[in-house]
């Protein structure tokens, strides 16, 4: 097609471009301008000189971070909490979906679904508020229960060793129900003829689950696992921030919360240093996503894009 025809074609559909203009401007301004702004990671940012006017310092901010005594602790906390959450939250939606799939009573099935979805709609502030209430050493339900067995009271939120487990298992509590939707949908897509044939051959429900349902949802499970691995470093930073207190910081400080504190909270706000740390994580996350997607392609699974 010649240039003229192309232009003609575009002008004929000008309305589509008119519709698209607003979102496009949004993406450029709110997503790409900050990427351009991320150059302050390589500068010594100074508010009066602005982003472009500030002097270049090369990798100095990064070196400072790598050499700081926080570096290994932050990296370790970020990786451990991400990996723990990834692994722990993977099997439960599958188990729940497999179980729900064999429920004949529609009303019971609907009730279980409706109730298990509910926590998904609770805000992180409320969730952390609930944790604090239930785990409170004096008035909390958990310690009252433990008290019956002569245990405790434990100050769970104040112990660094408890932080990761509380974070991960409350995440499982909140998200399992909602995450199971996709597996239920996949299970309903399995050819009923397979089940009928299996029943004819005298297969039990457990056998059908093992040999029909599980292989049926395996591709989706693998895709989701890969997808989640790619997003792994996106730790629930807003939740961690809420759960933090001076006593559990040793295990609860992750890269994202540190960026927030260095950049926006601390007295000596350091935009450049905070941006460099954030950029370091963004690059690692991006590489992780690419690797994971390549692996997916090699596994001949549906790829991410």
């Amino acid at each position: 097609m010649t240039k003229l025809n192309l232009w003609k074609d575009i002008t004929r559909k000008w309305q589509l471009y008119a519709l698209f203009a607003l979102p496009l401007i949004y993406i450029i301004v709110f997503k790409y301008v900050p990427m351009y702004g991320a150059q302050i990671a390589f500068k010594d940012f100074n508010v009066t000189k602005g982003i472009t006017g500030s002097p270049w310092v090369g990798f100095a901010q990064f070196e400072r971070f790598f050499h700081s005594h926080e570096f290994w602790r932050l990296l370790r906390n970020t990786l451990v909490v991400s990996f723990y959450a990834l692994v722990a939250s993977f099997p439960f939606p599958i188990i729940l979906a497999l179980g729900l799939n064999y429920v004949k009573n529609e009303r019971f099935k609907k009730s279980v679904q409706m109730i298990t979805y509910a926590p998904y709609f609770i805000s992180l502030v409320v969730l952390v508020g609930l944790l604090l209430q239930f785990l409170d050493p004096r008035t909390g339900l958990v310690n009252t229960l433990l008290g019956w067995f002569g245990l405790g009271p434990y100050h769970f939120m104040a112990q660094a060793s408890w932080f990761k487990s509380i974070y991960v298992w409350s995440h499982v509590w909140q998200n399992t129900g909602f995450a199971c939707i996709i597996y239920l949908a996949a299970l309903s897509g399995i050819d009923p003829a397979l089940h009928e044939a299996a029943v004819m051959d005298g297969a039990t429900k457990v056998q059908r689950m093992r040999h029909i349902d599980l292989p049926g949802i395996l591709p989706i499970a693998v895709i989701l696992l890969i997808l989640n691995t790619g997003q792994m470093l996106e730790t629930g930073f807003e939740k961690i921030l809420l759960m933090q207190n001076p006593l559990n910081l040793r295990t609860s400080e992750v890269i994202d919360t540190y960026v927030y504190k260095v950049g926006l909270v601390s007295q000596a706000m350091n935009f450049s240093y905070a941006t460099a740390i954030g950029l370091f994580k963004a690059v690692i996350g991006f590489i992780l996503l690419i690797i994971v997607n390549q692996t997916a392609k090699q596994l001949k699974q549906e790829s991410l894009w």
Binding site: K13, T116, I122, V126, L132
Partner: protein, 298 residues
Amino acid sequence: MHAMKIKEAGADRLFTIVNFCVLTLVMLIVLYPLAYVVSASFSSSSAVLSGRVWLWPVEPTLDGYRAVFKNTMVVRGFMNTIFYTVAGTGINLLFTVLAAYPLSRGDFRGRNMFMLLFVFTMMFSGGLIPTYLLVKDLGMIDTVWSMLIPGALSVWNVIIMRTYFQTTIPGELLEASQLDGCSDFRFLLRIVLPLSGPILAVIALFYAVGHWNQYFNAMIFLKRAELYPLQLILRDILVQNEINIDMLGDAKTAAARQGLRELLKYSLIVVTSVPLLVVYPFVQKFFVKGVMIGSLKG
């Protein structure tokens, strides 16, 4: 043969019973904390404090709710949150439809390039600080715009909606309409949107949940307390344990204050969470569609 059949039925029955028990247990694990909070919020403060509440309200009162609704901060936060949720979701839906519809059209030139431009932002971002500086440079800090505009669009939802348009709006419909001289604006407004009720409902719910539960953006972008959304006020009370002494005005003794303080937390949790928990069951039947499209075809 006969014996085998009975044995199998037995195994299946055992499975059904175990399955029922496990699912019931799961349901209870999810439900119990929620039920406890509701019961505690209606109980007397001394009952809550001494741990006498298990399932049903003990010495029922509305003290907690009275304290909640008497507090001007909380009431104003509630109003702010309603505004941010309604206005924000409206903007979100507008932007999402405007982006998704052209991208769903095979004859939209440059759509692959635009798609790449959009999807890349899901994989890489400039980060917290540059975004903050941008919002600051735009003069949005400490205005309602900072709650509405920076998150105006989620690329993920654009992909879901685009896929929905592609799979449910037949191409013949577009061709027929174009023959009748229907413009793209009209086609989107009169044909596409009326056919997209379910997906609009799901996406609106996802966005609304995001706005309702948002605290972080408010924390970094807002300084004036009169603009605070409910979640931020909630954070001070639930997480930071900072309760304005005025809220406990009625309580005379220190013990009564301590009790009301705990009671208030439970009532606040209920007041904040109920609106969403009441709404989602109505949209629940569309979840499967939204979630499926999003994760498989994205």
